[in-house]
């Protein structure tokens, strides 16, 4: 009888010792694959679409300038006119040159001449502001720029 009972007992429980490994693996995977946003966006930032695009250089060779209308929660304070955002604060056109020089000084020596300025500008912005930014960039000799876009057909821009 005792032998009969033993047969009925079934398989032993599967070891869960490796569960932490699996969890750590997932954790590492997501840690690596997640792109961190460097600065919180304070402006509306719907990029225009283009299809003749080139990839941006490595992250450490790029500095970002954002522009657009302040987002909803900042509109009360800053109005609805398009503004420039540098790092985490709103800025005016005259701050751009100083920002570029500061960014350039913070990079390694060998990268200082190959820096690209990525302009992440909202599609609804007027070109006047962008021309002003470009003039400032020319003054500090930051001539390589990139108009960051979404990948898509140009006709999406024309509505």
């Amino acid at each position: 009888m005792s032998k009969f009972k033993k047969n009925k007992k079934g398989l032993p429980a599967i070891s869960t010792a490796s569960l932490p490994d699996i969890v750590f693996m997932l954790l590492f995977f997501f840690m690596v694959a997640t792109v961190m946003r460097d600065s919180t966006l304070m402006v509306k930032n719907t990029l225009p679409a283009a299809d003749q695009v080139q990839k941006l250089d490595k992250k450490d060779r790029v500095m970002y300038i954002y522009a657009g209308k302040p987002s909803m929660r900042y509109q009360e304070k800053y109005g609805s006119q398009a503004r420039i955002q540098l790092n985490d604060k709103f800025a005016t056109v005259s701050d751009v040159a100083a920002f570029v020089l500061a960014e350039r000084a913070s990079k390694r020596q060998e990268l200082q001449n190959v820096l690209t300025t990525a302009l992440k500008v909202d599609g609804e912005t007027n070109m006047g502001l962008i021309s002003d930014i470009k003039q400032e960039l020319r003054k500090v000799n930051a001539l390589k720029i990139n108009y960051t876009t979404r990948v898509g057909d140009y006709t999406q821009n024309m509505d």
């Binding site: 047969n7 995977f29 283009a50 003749q52 990839k55 003054k139 108009y147 876009t149």
Partner: protein
Amino acid sequence: MARRSAPEVNAGSMADIAFLLLIFFLVTTTIETDSGINRKLPPTDEIEDPPIIKERNIFTVVVNKDNRLLVEEELMDISNLRQSAIDFLDNGGGKGDEACLYCQGDRNPKSSDNPEKAIISLKNDRQTSYKAYIAVQNELVAAYNDLRNREFNRIYPMIGTNFIDAQKRYSDPRTNIDEKQRLKPLLDSIKAMYPQKLSEAEPSKTN
């Protein structure tokens, strides 16, 4: 006969499997990067006496405050911009020294002499919207890219790709150095055939 229960599975190698997977994902995942249209701004120092450029070698594109296009003094829809830019660049109307042997255009004496001389001049208003500007930039870059692709396929059919893909491969850090060295002269020769001469004027103020 004494039946034993199934032996416990050895989980010691589970960690190795996990690390193997982890390393696999580490190697294969590429973090998505931003993309956009690259441009180079002109330096600030003014040229003493600018070279005289013939009217027929300039293709003027004006975008007004309502985002409408004026191309060579005529209203144009943006859907026609790419083709008319290609027609202008590829015209090859020059004679003698200035003749363009590879151009497939109409050879209209009133349009550009050859792609090396052809300049596209873009002027926008301060009120032009950024999206419209990008759309125009995109179409003008597309005109150059179309021509470069055509010539690349014609001259180097054995490469098996077009100019854009070859350029992508060239700028990809994973491409090995031998292939880069092989691609560079090919790309440079095509770039020299259709140099990107896109000039931007200071925007006009709306009154």
